[in-house]
């Protein structure tokens, strides 16, 4: 899908295995929490209760991921990538998270502009007009459009 990945093959355990394992862990956690997270009230109905479908689907997911891990145990995986790449993404994630946390108190305009500003920085934009001015302008335009045109009560 990304196209950018398969340059360096050879690493035995890479990001695919990591992602599959995470999915596996999630699915197993889902199965084990099933009983406590889905309450079933006996309602005189037969075996088709609220746990019926999740149990099947989670079970199938576990099965499918196990098969995938088994099938791909020998195939070369994709490398994890450069640390600096992960850092850039991490920076953007933190920025948006921070923007969201602050949004309820400082408003959509400032929160969104902050997220945009840090994202621009992460992209390597150093000129002030583009890194601060552009996100601010876009956020202002969005706020104006949402309030006046679209009837959306932004925070």
């Amino acid at each position: 899908m990304t196209g950018a990945a398969r340059q360096k093959t050879g690493a035995m355990r890479g990001i695919q295995t990591l992602a599959s394992s995470l999915v596996l862990v999630g699915a197993i956690a889902g199965l084990s929490l099933l009983e406590s997270q889905i309450e079933v009230f006996s309602f005189g109905d037969t075996g088709i209760d609220a746990r019926f479908f999740p149990r099947i689907v989670l079970g199938l997911l576990v099965l499918a991921v196990l098969i995938r891990l088994f099938v791909h145990r020998r195939t070369p995986d994709m490398p994890l990538g450069y640390v600096s790449s992960w850092l850039r993404v991490g920076l953007a994630v933190v920025a948006v998270t921070l923007g969201l946390i602050l949004m309820t108190s400082i408003g959509f305009l400032a929160g969104a502009a902050l997220s945009g500003f840090v994202t621009a920085l992460a992209f390597g934009e150093r000129r002030l007009i583009f890194s601060v001015g552009l996100p601010l302008a876009v956020a202002a335009l969005v706020v104006l459009g949402a309030r006046e045109g679209l009837n959306i009560p932004l925070p």
Partner: protein, 503 residues
Amino acid sequence: MLLDAFLALLDIWVLVAAVFGIVVGIVIGAIPGLGPTMAIALLIPVTFSMAPIPAITLLLGVYQGAIFGGSISAILLNVPGTPSSAATAIDGYAMARKGQGGKALRIALYASVFGNIFSCLALMMLAQPLASMALSFGPAEMTTLLLFALAVIILFGGGAKLDAAIMVLIGICAGIIGLDPIAGTPRFTFNNFALENGFQLIPVLVGLFAMSEVFLQLFNRPKASAGAQEVPELLPTKVGLAEMWRMRTTMFLSSVIGTFIGILPGIGSTVPAFMSYSLARSRSRSRDPSSFGKGAAEGVAAPEAANNAVTGGALIPTLALGIPGDAVTAVILGAFMLQGLAPGPFLFRDYGVEVYAIFEALLLSSIPCIIFGLLLFRVAVHVIRIPPRHLFPAITILALLGAFSVNNSMVDVWVMLGAGIVGFLLRRSGFPLPPLLIGLILGKSLEQSLRQALLTSGGSLEIFVASPIAAGFLVTIALCVIAAAVFHLRTRNKSEKSATGNV
């Protein structure tokens, strides 16, 4: 009747309404997260004081415009503006990377118009029989149809089938969170009220596709990024009639799929778009095996024809029975009522002239749609030249807006961010995201229909065989699995098996 209706159209306001509706629809649809439902709801108060024909023409123009508008951002930015254009992004964006962005947009436009006209004709001529066909789809039939849709997308959607199956299952699992559709009890909400609503489609879409694109671009940013950003050049963009004619079968089949699924309640336009894409892909195997996913024109035409054909199909039960299949048509139903044209069994009898005038306006609005679409493209294609470091901060802000606007709730924005991170990790690992989206869309309906069917039958599985429609779908699914398996073995047995491919 048709002539009377046509005469009723000779009013400058109808033209103004059609053009205004289409333009507003295209623009709103192009913004990730803002879709037809919101665009129509927004304009309903505007139509309070208008005469019925221009009012409804305006709203339906918005509907069609918004569904098409989503494909502009899908093609140019790889960020689908509406869920239904996620399928268009696959080959559309690939074309844009090759410098054929303008061509892809034109193909999308012509295919959309074709889909619109096709479904509108179906609506005009076959509304009553098709509406009663929709009624014969009960829970059992829906269950098997949904399984069929999933099978088609897993088996023929391209890429590794096992990966697609895993993604579908993840999507279905994500759909479980929230209130149980049958018993109404919370599931996996961890006693948090905010989670009772579950993961809404639009925030997840925006996160998976728009936000993750931002992260992915950040990740892949070349080290030395001084000025040598690769900006795709714009190649000449004419699309000849001959080229569209070459795709006639694809567009026709896609329109049939779109119209048919549109008639059925609650599936929406995303699933038919992907089904048509998968079908076009599998049909082209013999001639053009590897072009799909790398910028095949038919990969743009098929989903666009299908998702626009849904509009006419979805209006059939809405107008003929007064039974809307989804949120958009429910809003349109309200608009018809406000104009005094109560949808239902009496609509065509009591207001035939108005209704046929509206249909004719829909058909004729293809002309302004093409004209304004082409004009808009001249501006839009230049979006692709904006350097990523300017573009993606702006997309981040629009994504925040899009996610918030669905329910006016911050929870959805958090869901969007989470989906963005998950989407980034999955795309980085080479997993296909569209099946995940499909799983999320269909999971809830699948569970609901399955359990409804078992409730009506008292728990007996016989209900799936007793109905000829349901049995037919089950046989088709089996045939698809066999066909895919045979094909798989014949091409070359790579290491994997399509083991769980039947879910």
